[in-house]
Symmetry: C2
């Protein structure tokens, strides 16, 4: 079983694809390279050895009159087959009084989904751990429905039996939202991957929740449209998961958030009720817009089973400019000029700082295409005319170079070269992973002060940090603030938290711009939301999921 | 008191502005001309004469230990000073067991809002009736808070005393959502009209809910931005009301709905709790996106007191083309060409049929600028380059003319001429009002079948209808279907309803695309939403407003 080799040892790391299509999350190759180096040499985690996962043992527990399966690994202090410690051991969290999956439950699931009730340790191991290797549950069953009706029957059963459920899409989340914390039943959308319809005039795509974003992109691009969202995990993430987490990514600046582009949803509620709001209409003011509740609710209010989404026409011309700026003030002024001069064709405005560029050079061997600068900006245009877009971009570049906002730059128009420039921005995450242990923050801030915290932390941490970097979607006011050290250090963490959150709150920013709260960030919600807001969220949760079975321990704070 | 003259007689109709700025809703002049002719000659309503509104009479009722005010007009069968029958007499609706405003309540309000507790019959008469003259309440008090804290205190009092409340913005709604049905306390946002902040880089505007849309438009246009929404009622409507009704209008095609452009809201909940979700951030994934609940909830879940909204940069070039098409198939093909060839600069695609054009000619004296055709299309482009946009538009026009999709057309670039062309589309409503009694439907439909119902109804009704017309925001799939007759005819209504709703439901359309449900359409929600969806809406209402005091009798169906 090659999958159970120790991932903490580079020699034992599975090669891309070695796990076979079912076990291997479809992340780009670099994610696996990153995972390989996730625990740097010398880190305690890198010394751990794994044990074979024990088989299920049947003994009575909790529910009367039922045979119960529990898993030895749940009470084990072993890091498990993946080298990741169990969530219940690593974090202070108590199991809620849900039932435990019994043989009767498995038999009921088997009746609902013949042949698609997975209990094999290999598949469960993948479903139980997140790709960042920060959380690991010990679920004993993974269900693979194909239809909404099957999801409905599963939830009705779980609701009646008080079994907790974790909905899972591509399992590409950043905050531990898509894996079980304890032994929740995992309901995967992997087999719900059919396109229902696509309208070639309106650009409305209707599909099942388990469609992989990249496949959908290809599908609509073949029909001269594009998906309104794009993100690094597109090769693995499911559209249902994207919607459930209100995924941001690279196209928010141009096409807005999913709250605007999603036209309809089909959702199965906690008790199995199918809520069909799968409208394909751009306008519908008949009552409350219920679908909005589920966008960004991280599977805690219902399981999204189908999505209707508005796809923009495919741009005929795409240009990418990569520019060096002498300071952050100039980055902001370049952004302002961009909006004014590129107007409707501006489709991305991203930035990385010099430290990011150093890291992609050092760890990935990428070379900076422009003169060394304190900041670099990536500007993308997408439009319907090569000539017009080129002329607008040329005028913009002339202006920013003449005025000294930009000291050097390069432009690409063909797809191969634009990808090379995009890699300098998109591979920063990977370079950081290779630099050591990474403390990651995903903040929304007013653009004027977007970089201030990076400067402050760099001064505060001094040589105790290897790197303190800032990069991200400047056009959306979204900063990815990352700090690396050789190994995890609780004292450094104490210097970062709650300081980063308090500083963000003082600027009325968001402590989670696009990653969500999931399991790991659920207790920082109070830095961005008032007690009244959190209380209303809890009321909505209680209304929609009175037994609390849907993705428990996620999104809402652990303390009432 | 000129206002109390009989509006049903043209001679007595107040001239524009005659009521003074406080009494006169700031609608464009043509709305008043339209209102003047609302009941055509011969219609029973046109014969009614009004009585002076009686003063309040104090007598004990309902609540113990309190002096109670009731209004004789509430039980009167008179059409009241405005010539409009009371809602409770015209429609089958029963008053719910709310308290009645007492002297003690008035005193409490006076302590909260010194000098801004309005009980004068003149002002109340305006607040009690909708501009379409279809509904009229008999509220005895109108409150004019200036701050969110005042709104909070008002609602806390009303919640404790179980007094029903109707929030009111510009009172420009189409479905009777913003006036009391019985004697609800009217809480007006008229004095909450301050801009809080505007950010000239991000384009984020934060303002109080009572700001008039046109004033905001002017404010941001002075700073080179535009509001992401525009609609006929902009001279009177309040931004808070726009958000509460999820107003559509003319810019949805380009900038999307308010669910995407509204970044944050401040809302006062039924019990007076202030819910501050007034974020100015483009991205914020910290918990459920609560603001979405209130967008389109028509004041039934909370009173919106402030809005944060993302304004797009002001386009430097605007072109309008008015085109004649030989058939609806060609209209659809022209739309497809438009999207392909105009791409990112397309900002509106509207259509009117020949019957609409006949009516604007007959009633308003407007002349058709192109050769007579079965259909007319208005295409607007908004972009950042006069040259580029002109070139794109020219190429598009050449294509549609050469291919026979369009038989004749005209283009305007300067503001005066574009307004003339826009008037041909925008003044259709006015022309219809002058044609007789109007049966109005606002439907979302798949574009392919958008016009089918108009054709079918025209054949079905024959000479019993004066006109059966279709026009609207084709780019959004939004049809305004209107039927006119000399006078209101219940038998004709019975032919239209529920047929129009059933037909729309059969196409999975929406029976209210942009107007909302309010009071008059609340019972048709079931044609567009499933029982499970309606049940969830009712659950949300009960969660947020357990005593049901906020805008009762609106949005949710009358029968559980």
């Amino acid at each position: 079983m090659p999958f159970f080799r120790d991932w903490t040892s580079p020699d034992n790391m599975p090669k891309d694809g070695a796990m076979g299509p079912q076990l291997l999350p479809r992340w780009p190759a670099w994610f696996f390279r990153a995972a390989q180096g996730w625990w740097p040499k010398g880190h305690p985690r890198a010394l751990l050895r794994t044990a074979c996962m024990p088989g299920p043992v049947v003994e009575p527990r909790l529910r009367l009159g039922a045979s119960i399966i529990i898993c030895r690994s749940c009470s084990s202090t072993s890091p498990g087959p993946t080298g990741v410690r169990l969530t219940q051991e690593r974090y202070p969290v108590q199991r809620l009084p849900f039932s435990v999956v019994s043989e009767q439950d498995l038999a009921a699931f088997e009746r609902i989904l013949p042949g698609r009730v997975v209990t094999s340790p290999e598949e469960l191991a993948v479903a139980n751990v997140d790709w960042l290797r920060t959380v690991r549950g010990c679920s004993q069953v993974l269900l693979k429905p194909r239809t909404t009706e099957e999801v409905s029957k599963i939830l009705r059963h779980c609701h009646e039996q008080k079994l907790a459920v974790t909905p899972q899409g591509g399992n590409t989340g950043m905050v531990g939202g898509s894996v079980p914390v304890f032994d929740e039943v995992v309901v995967s959308t992997a087999l719900m991957n059919q396109v229902t319809s696509f309208h070639t005039v309106s650009g409305v795509l209707v599909c099942q929740a388990g469609c992989i974003l990249e496949n959908l992109s290809q599908y609509v691009e073949d029909r001269d449209f594009i998906m309104p969202l794009d993100l690094g995990a597109k090769g693995s993430c499911h559209i249902g998961g994207n919607v459930a987490t209100n995924a941001g990514g690279l196209r928010v600046l141009r096409y807005g958030s999913l709250h605007g582009t999603v036209l309809g949803l089909e959702v199965v509620l906690a008790d199995g009720t199918i809520l069909n709001c799968l409208s394909s209409l751009r306008k519908d003011n008949t009552g409350y817009d219920l679908k909005q509740l589920f966008i960004g609710s991280e599977g805690t209010l219902g399981v999204i089973t189908a999505v209707s989404i508005l796809c923009p026409p495919k741009p005929k011309a795409v240009n990418v400019a990569f520019l060096g700026c002498p300071g952050f003030v100039e980055v902001l002024q370049t952004f302002r000029s961009c909006k004014l001069m590129l107007g409707e064709i501006l489709s991305a405005f991203e930035f990385v700082d010099a430290e990011c560029m150093r890291l992609v050079g050092q760890h990935l061997g990428l070379s900076c295409p422009v003169q060394e600068s304190p900041f670099y900006v990536l500007v993308e245009t997408s439009g319907s005319s090569t000539d017009h877009d080129g002329a607008k971009l040329a005028a913009f570049l002339e202006h920013v170079l003449d005025s000294g906002l930009v000291t050097d730059g390069t432009v690409a128009t063909d797809e191969r070269k634009t990808k090379v420039l995009w890699a300098l921005r998109e591979r920063v995450t990977e370079a950081l992973s290779r630099d050591g242990y990474v403390y990651k923050y995903d903040l929304s801030l007013p653009v004027d002060c977007l970089y201030d915290l990076v400067v402050e932390l760099r001064a505060r941490l001094g040589s105790r940090a290897r790197a303190v970097v800032g990069y991200g979607h400047l056009g959306d006011g979204n900063l990815h603030l990352n700090v690396t050290t050789e190994a995890f250090c609780p004292r450094l963490l104490a210097e970062l938290e709650p300081h980063v959150y308090e500083w963000t709150a003082s600027q009325r920013g968001s402590v989670s711009a696009e990653h969500g709260l999931g399991f790991r960030k659920r207790d920082v919600v109070r830095y961005s939301k008032s007690p009244a807001a959190v209380q209303l969220m809890q009321g909505i949760k209680a209304l929609l999921d009175p037994r609390g079975i849907l993705n428990p321990y996620k999104t809402l704070p652990s303390k009432p």
